[in-house]
Symmetry: C2
Subunit: 220 residues, 2 copies
Amino acid sequence: MEGQPHPYVPRDLQLPGYVPVSLSQSTILSVYGVASVLVVSLVWILSGRSRRIAKIDRLLMCWWAFTGLTHIILEGYFVFSPEFYKDKSSNYLAEVWKEYSKGDSRYAARDAGIVTVEGITAVIEGPASLLAVYAIATGKSYSYILQFAVSLGQLYGDAVYFITSFLEGDNFAASPLYYYAYYVGANSSWVVIPLLIAIRCWKKICAAFHNQGQKKTKSR
Amino acid sequence: MEGQPHPYVPRDLQLPGYVPVSLSQSTILSVYGVASVLVVSLVWILSGRSRRIAKIDRLLMCWWAFTGLTHIILEGYFVFSPEFYKDKSSNYLAEVWKEYSKGDSRYAARDAGIVTVEGITAVIEGPASLLAVYAIATGKSYSYILQFAVSLGQLYGDAVYFITSFLEGDNFAASPLYYYAYYVGANSSWVVIPLLIAIRCWKKICAAFHNQGQKKTKSR
């Protein structure tokens, strides 16, 4: 159970039984990229069949399908697989987290903060994201508040993710390349897009109450 | 700098320079209790001067003033005072956290997850709670979405707080009494009340969009 030497930082991190990543970086990224493009294309095409759905809403449906499946499949696997770094079967999902841990070794180390944030993301925000696809498609009255709630949850998760790392010395990446590509780069979409969606929903919700207020004033 | 023996669990927690709590438990709780009753009474009386504000909204204003000041003053002190456990001056705020650490020693130990959640709570949710008092009083269109956002942030913070402790063995209380009184009891209000407010705001926001939808249908 000694395991092979791991590539992660800090170097003294103990990972007994560690089995190195066997798929190449380009294979791991390509599978995720192609799968994501397929999901987004499918949602874009299907949502285009209804004339009623505006382009911005179709784009949002693509985002929610993509982020929801990422949360449930990728992050869900991580949450419930504490020993992924021992996997010998080249299981794609284990390979993803072995590779990503080069950018943030807290994943391999099973840091409690990471597991907590990923758990909330996978179990609550993942299904809620897919519900958002349905809510937008069918014009539910809870569409904006649901999108706002999930986006705010993603932003809170980002804050916990980055601030805990900062407080603990910000030294969990195997190299500056992995730091910027994985830790900063891969997470940046989940900062920028939820922020834009949260702002949009906030404005839409304010406008709904503003209209309601005007209606009440008029009907007096 | 050896410091005196501390009462916290785990017993091997290193707190060099620790100075024991000097105020009694009843003094610490009374000051917080009396100050809170004063704040709530003041907001209740002032908000009662306007006939326009419904009782439920006045109650919410009391909650937001109380929770906002707790976040800013108590939790704000903790976030920016990493060495509170060394305080010799019987500073009330240091005493609060020396006492509360008996229920959760991660505060004295400066756990990164705790500091992060408390930081977000003190710096963002505290001022946002006071803004909610103003928003309710003046009937702003952003009143419900603001209250929803802060409540959801409080609930996310609770989740991180309790789940990280569970994952790390749930052994941070000096005794079962402190565990149930401080760790469970003191936090339970910040689970139940934000949950109720979030549900109420969700319903109000859905109703606003429902009305807007009906209005559009009628005007066709």
